[in-house]
């Protein structure tokens, strides 16, 4: 039914989308509880349409007008930047230098901040709720869009991969939305830090491979080399976590305040 690379693509996009969807859900819940649900939902829905338009316009334009090697360099570079950002944050969190991402705490902070904002109404619409919800969904969604487009178009003018990438994102967003609607509180049990670590390694490995291939690098063993890159980055990541955990613990013992 699905090939191995299609399954990797769907799972990667699903995991990345789930992380961003959980963060967007926290913003939607905070906005809805403090400023009302009607405008909050309107903002979220408009943002989803805007994101779909970005995928449609950007995806179609790229497929029809950009050379495959240029495309690989662009998507590879984007994935490498995003992957490195996710990975370094995950290393800092796992080694204790950065607080673990906690949706419950972020939710409380968002609610406190939004309670201070006055209700600005235009007819039946609360502008604050609309803007906060729109911005939250649009910004978190943009990262998903970039990953969907990058993974979906890595084979150039082949729509099938884009279809699978969109499927992965849609499933993740739908699942998080349904769970969020049922429990009506931030999904702090989703292991965001672990997901970011895993997805970060995949993004960096694919990003390196495609960027190099687009630039003319001849990878030994072709696509199989992605697995070697993943192994190298995984080993380095866990090595860095172990080393900096030691540094953090020593600092703690010496009485440094973090």
């Amino acid at each position: 039914m699905f090939t191995g690379s299609e399954i990797v693509l769907i799972i990667t996009v699903m995991a990345a989308s789930a992380v961003e969807a959980v963060e967007a859900l926290t913003i939607i819940l905070a906005s809805g509880i403090t400023h009302g649900w009607r405008s909050t939902w309107e903002g979220a829905i408009v943002a989803l349409f805007a994101l779909a338009a970005v995928v449609a316009v950007l995806g179609t334009t790229i497929i029809h007008h950009v050379d495959i090697n240029v495309l690989r360099v662009i998507v590879g570079t984007l994935l490498l930047i995003f992957g490195m950002q996710w990975l370094t944050k995950a290393i800092l969190r796992s080694s204790g230098f950065k607080a673990m991402h906690d949706e419950a705490k972020i939710f409380e902070k968002d609610v406190e901040e939004l309670k201070k904002e006055k209700h600005i109404r235009h007819g039946k619409r609360d502008s604050i709720a609309f803007v906060v919800s729109f911005k939250g969904v649009f910004l978190e969604g943009m990262e998903v869009v970039m990953i969907v487009i990058s993974f979906g178009l890595s084979n150039g003018n082949d729509y099938s991969r884009l279809k699978y990438a969109v499927l992965g994102a849609a499933v993740a967003i739908a699942v998080i939305a349904v769970i969020g609607a049922i429990v009506a509180k931030p999904l702090s049990k989703v292991p965001e830090n672990t997901l970011k670590l895993g997805v970060g390694i995949i993004l960096v490995s694919f990003g390196m491979f495609w960027m190099g291939e687009g630039a003319g690098v001849k990878w030994p063993m072709s696509d199989v080399f992605i697995l070697i890159l993943a192994a190298v980055f995984t080993t380095t990541t866990f090595g860095l976590i172990a080393f900096f955990k030691g540094v953090h613990n020593r600092m703690h013992h010496e009485g440094h305040t973090l």
Partner: protein
């Protein structure tokens, strides 16, 4: 004149959005990735050197970025 100012503001906001989105609080990462890309173009068709160089550079970039971020806390 007012329209020009509005268009200018929109362009600046658009550019700032993409700068924040791609560079964020880690300018060294974006710069490092561009350097890796440049090295990949320079060393392509040089046997295993291209593969070894860009992979090593990516690892160095990871280590330097994490080290720099932890230094802020020390």
């Amino acid at each position: 004149m007012k329209i020009l100012k509005t268009i200018w503001k929109l362009i600046i906001s658009f550019l700032l959005f993409w700068k924040d989105f791609l560079v964020g609080d880690s300018p060294e990462l974006a710069l490092g990735v561009l350097i890796i890309l440049g090295v990949a173009y320079l060393l392509r068709n040089h046997g295993v050197w291209d593969v070894a160089s860009i992979t090593s550079l990516a690892l160095v970039l990871m280590v330097v970025t994490v080290w720099r971020k932890t230094r802020d806390h020390r």
